[in-house]
């Protein structure tokens, strides 16, 4: 469904992505692991054009794009099929939980208010936030805010949802709840690409795992294989180092 080849990105001469190939099939839950600074966030941002790639081709459904040369129109057409969940939630601070969800539906997708509200309520209930519809982001915990952000992403019924470390900004006791919500989405067959440091979560939920290091993808394998015995030493030592921290 989504296939990217030769993705490159540098910030001021500092090469962050050095030719990344990545693809997603419908129904994939692709977890992206890798050490800090390896370029995971940058890759995800390039995939949704929050950052302009220096090189790379993207095939998405029946379209093909030259990533540096893509037009604004093409970007917005593409974004109708994708959603993004940020590490810092990035909720609209002047809107209530439900307005955060309906805003894009009404303003960008020109849905009627009634239909948007119905969808938003369904999405908020799906992430366990019934009763919080009219709360402002400032009145919600980090975990609740992230769940609103997930509802906002889900409500648009995207073909792909990108997650950038959805639980990294959360207090430890709130992480589980958000991961459960994402697990639920996986069970419903959503296609997702999730950057995470939660190896256990990847182990349980991913269909595929990729490992990034210094701007390259070192491994790209189905989950069982990835966590199986025959693994690159570099990855084994990374996983071990995480375990030691826990």
């Amino acid at each position: 469904m989504l296939e990217v080849t030769g993705l490159k990105k540098a910030f001021g001469g500092n090469k962050i992505l050095k030719g990344v190939d990545v693809s997603l099939q419908k129904g994939d839950v692709l977890c992206v692991l890798g050490p800090s600074g390896s370029g995971k966030t940058t890759m995800l941002r390039c995939l949704n054009y929050l950052e302009k790639a220096d090189a790379g081709r993207m095939r998405f459904m029946e379209n093909e794009y030259d990533m540096p040369g893509i037009s604004k129109k093409e970007i917005s057409a593409y974004r109708r099929h994708t959603a993004f969940v940020f590490q810092n939630f990035n909720l609209f601070a002047n809107k209530t939980a439900i307005q955060n969800v309906t805003e894009g539906l009404i303003v960008a997708r020109r849905m009627s208010r009634a239909e948007a509200t119905e969808r938003a309520e369904k999405a908020l209930i799906e992430v366990g936030l019934e009763g919080k519809f009219d709360s402002r982001p400032s009145q919600l915990s980090g975990g609740q805010q992230q769940r609103v952000a997930i509802a906002r992403a889900v409500a648009a019924e995207p073909d792909v949802i990108f997650f950038d470390e959805p639980t990294s900004a959360l207090d430890p006791e709130l992480i589980g709840g958000v991961l459960d919500v994402i697990r639920g989405l996986a069970e419903n067959g959503r296609t997702m690409m999730i950057v995470t440091h939660e190896v256990n979560f990847a182990h349980n939920v991913a269909t595929r795992v990729i490992f990034m290091d210094e701007g390259r993808i070192l491994a790209d394998a189905p989950r069982r294989e990835f966590f199986g015995a025959e693994q690159l030493p570099r990855i084994r030592s990374f996983l071990n180092s995480l375990e030691r921290k826990e």
Partner: protein, 227 residues
């Protein structure tokens, strides 16, 4: 206090006050309204990084902030006629106050817009909104809330600054008081009186500002904005 002085004060009070209502306040409010438009446009041009226009805006702000308001008033009212451009004093005052205030408020507004976390713009893009939609519906409402207290302070300063318009023959409160003082020789009493009337007007504006701030926090549900 002599009876004469009391009579002068009683007679002059409604005159000065009325001149406040008829000239000082309209001058303030009209200039400030235009200043808000100028400020908004200038702030947006700077934020959106419109090439060419941005340099013009920076230049305008540099000039205004680097020169005294009184000099600006003189330049436009007494200077421009040398080039054949003669403006009546009231519109001239409005123009100068609006341009002056616009430059200062542009900076306030720009700061307020920049204080809204950038992630919300990206989130807006990701749900398919356009730059203008995100600005109008997400960023600006938050920025205006942030900018409201400093902007109201600017408005209150402006009530007082309009007294400078007396220098270019606008018959506002101060000029009215000055004339009565000149005629009656009661300088101390009249300047105290006009000061008190400024105080009344400014107090009313301060009170309105509080009301506005309370309304804004209740709309936003209180609390701070998370990054």
């Amino acid at each position: 206090m002599t009876e004469r002085l009391i009579n002068i004060l009683l007679e002059s009070f409604p005159k000065i006050f009325l001149q406040g209502l008829l000239v000082t306040i309209p001058l303030t409010v009209i200039s400030f309204a235009i200043a808000m438009v100028i400020a908004m446009v200038c702030a947006m041009i700077q934020i959106a990084n419109v090439k060419g226009l941005k340099q013009i805006v920076r230049f305008y702000i540099w000039i205004i902030r680097g020169t005294p308001l009184l000099v600006q008033l003189y330049l436009i009212y007494f200077g421009l006629p040398d080039l054949g451009i003669v403006l009546p004093s009231f519109p001239c005052a409005i123009m100068v106050f609006a341009l002056n205030e616009g430059a200062y408020c542009a900076e306030t507004m720009r700061g307020a817009i920049e204080s809204v976390p950038k992630g919300q713009l990206e989130a807006g893009y990701c749900v398919g909104m356009s730059y203008m939609q995100i600005m109008r519906r997400i960023i600006l409402p938050q920025a205006l809330r942030t900018a409201f207290p400093p902007l109201s302070n600017s408005l209150i300063s402006m009530v007082k600054d309009t007294s400078l318009a007396a220098n270019i023959t606008v018959v506002e409160m101060f000029m009215t008081a000055q004339r009565i003082a000149g005629r009656t020789y009661e300088h101390l009493a009249l300047y105290i009186e006009v000061a008190l009337i400024y105080l009344i007007f400014c107090t009313v504006f301060t009170w309105l500002q509080r009301l506005g701030e309370r309304k804004l926090t209740s709309v936003s549900g209180g609390g701070s904005i998370h990054a």
